[in-house]
């Protein structure tokens, strides 16, 4: 268990440091403001030309409650500021008591191997975080909502995914990828994004929960007002979990800042020290 905590901490240290001067105080155009010029994050949800909510903006998942983060990484919330992650980033099964975990027993055994084995994590090799981990990272991502396609630009490793909203169906047997193949449609004011076609290499969280190629992810994006969004994620992977389960993320609009460049491989010194198979 101690080893796992170290692992998680190191993962966080690998996150980009938010200390750059560039663009961090540049006023984002189009943000409603109060008379004193501050962003009005409780202004109403903006709408796109087609009348649907416009999810566009720079978002970041809200950090988890300190008492839960503290449970996973003791001492970590002392002075760490807003770089703390969601509790689901640390453990996607954070909501479950051990005896109620949906994890299949055979997969649970695999997790026990991962805990102390740092170098099997794809992140150590600067491979993609994959879904849904990248969207719960303690780093911003930008949604660009266009007719027919919505793009998510992730600051983590400066990567992106595209969600097709042009009415197409999910492919039957797509090439397995880290981020999968996503299509979206509106259910009232909620954008429902369904994704399949994952490879089985990404981890669901920093703890090392894995998934299979059979995983299907359903995300429900609901922009509550200008500055707040709720994202419900449902993971259905019968080869890993005994039943589908959902987590609910709160995401906060990040005003007057922007995406910065982050390339994991830029400072990758570890790879050569690993024992490779």
């Amino acid at each position: 268990m101690r080893n796992q905590n170290i692992w998680i901490l190191i993962t966080l240290l690998a996150a980009p440091a938010f200390v750059h001067a560039q663009w961090l105080n540049y006023p984002t155009p189009g943000i409603p403001r109060t008379p004193d010029g501050k962003p009005n994050l409780s202004a109403k949800t903006p709408r796109a030309a087609d009348g649907k909510p416009d999810l566009s903006g720079l978002w970041q998942t809200e950090p988890g409650p300190p008492e839960i983060i503290e449970r996973y990484i003791p001492g970590s919330t002392n002075g760490s500021g807003d770089a703390m992650p969601s509790q689901y980033f640390l453990n996607i099964l954070s909501d479950f008591k051990p005896e109620e975990s949906p994890l299949r027993p055979d997969v649970a055994a695999l997790l026990q191997q991962h805990g102390p084995t740092y170098n099997v994590s794809p992140l150590w090799h600067c491979l993609p975080e994959g879904m849904p981990l990248v969207e719960m990272s303690p780093a911003p991502y930008k949604i660009i909502q266009k007719p027919g396609m919505t793009a998510m630009l992730y600051e983590r490793d400066t990567t992106f995914r595209q969600v097709y909203t042009d009415g197409r169906k999910l492919p039957v047997d797509p090439q397995p990828t880290w981020l999968g193949y996503s299509v979206g449609k509106w259910d009232g004011d909620t954008l429902v994004v369904e994704t399949l076609g994952f490879n089985d290499r990404s981890w669901l969280d920093a703890r090392g929960h894995t998934h299979s190629e059979a995983m299907r992810l359903t995300e429900r994006f609901r922009r509550l007002d200008f500055g707040h969004m709720e994202v419900q994620m449902t993971i259905d992977d019968p080869k890993t979990f005994t039943r589908p389960f959902s987590i609910k993320l709160k995401q906060l609009l990040q005003p007057d800042t922007d995406l910065l460049e982050d390339f994991c491989a830029e400072n990758e010194k570890d790879l050569i020290h690993y024992e490779h198979k």
């Binding site: 750059h20 090799h125 793009a151 595209q162 922007d258 390339f263 491989a265």
Partner: protein
Amino acid sequence: MERITSLVVVAAQITAAVAVSVSSALAQTAQPAEPYDLDELGAAKYRDALAHPVSGGSARPTPRLPDGKVDFGGKGVWAPLWVLDWADKKWVDKAIDVPFTPWGRATFNERRASLAKDDPEGYCLPPGVPRYTGTPHPFQMIQLPDRVVILYEGGSHTYRTIFMDGRKHTHEDQLNPTWLGESIGHWEGNDTLVVDTIGFNGRTWLDNVGHPATEKLHVIERYRRPDFNTLSYEVTIEDPVAYTRPWTTSFRIYFRPGWELLEYVCLENNKDLLHLNTAEPK
């Protein structure tokens, strides 16, 4: 599936071709002349296909946004050639006699002599600006009111932001050096998108043959779309450390209707690093 085959398979062939031909050419001389012969391994077919617009496409006029500016989007992708040498007529509109400084020349020759083993792209590091535009992975351009976003499939699966909201470049003292630099764009008339980029980290190469760039690199790109299927790309390279004066090169990129960006993760299968005996390019 056809596109996966054409890109992935043939890109692999090109990689092999480059490796083979670089070593054979450089065994004899460190001069850059004609180091690549793609034809031998059949990759020329791929090159020829991408070097021409889809049939009948050129007749369609340039698409425009409601404000009259050129629309660089549409259902499809821009599919560049692999522009291996940005000064060689084989890849660009006209041959360039690159105005190297002595340092620039020496650096270039060293890269030729070492078989380009320190090419950052070989380490799955970002190609940077402007090299992305000559890297053989498709891209899409998304025009928003305050910025243009370019989604690059390759090198590897990343995006670039070009600010269009009238802001000025960050002061030199505050610039955070990056692979892609700080890009600020403006329009010349309704037809030409001009992108001015500074703030580089000096670690990128301009192309596969190793034309150097430093932190002093200043890139001015001109994007035009003379017809629906053609992107006319012109770039001016200014870098007083590597070149005695700015030099300009240009080439065309063609639109592939119906193609979409796939996921490309360079590090997924990078086996070279351990064999190069270093985790770090020079």
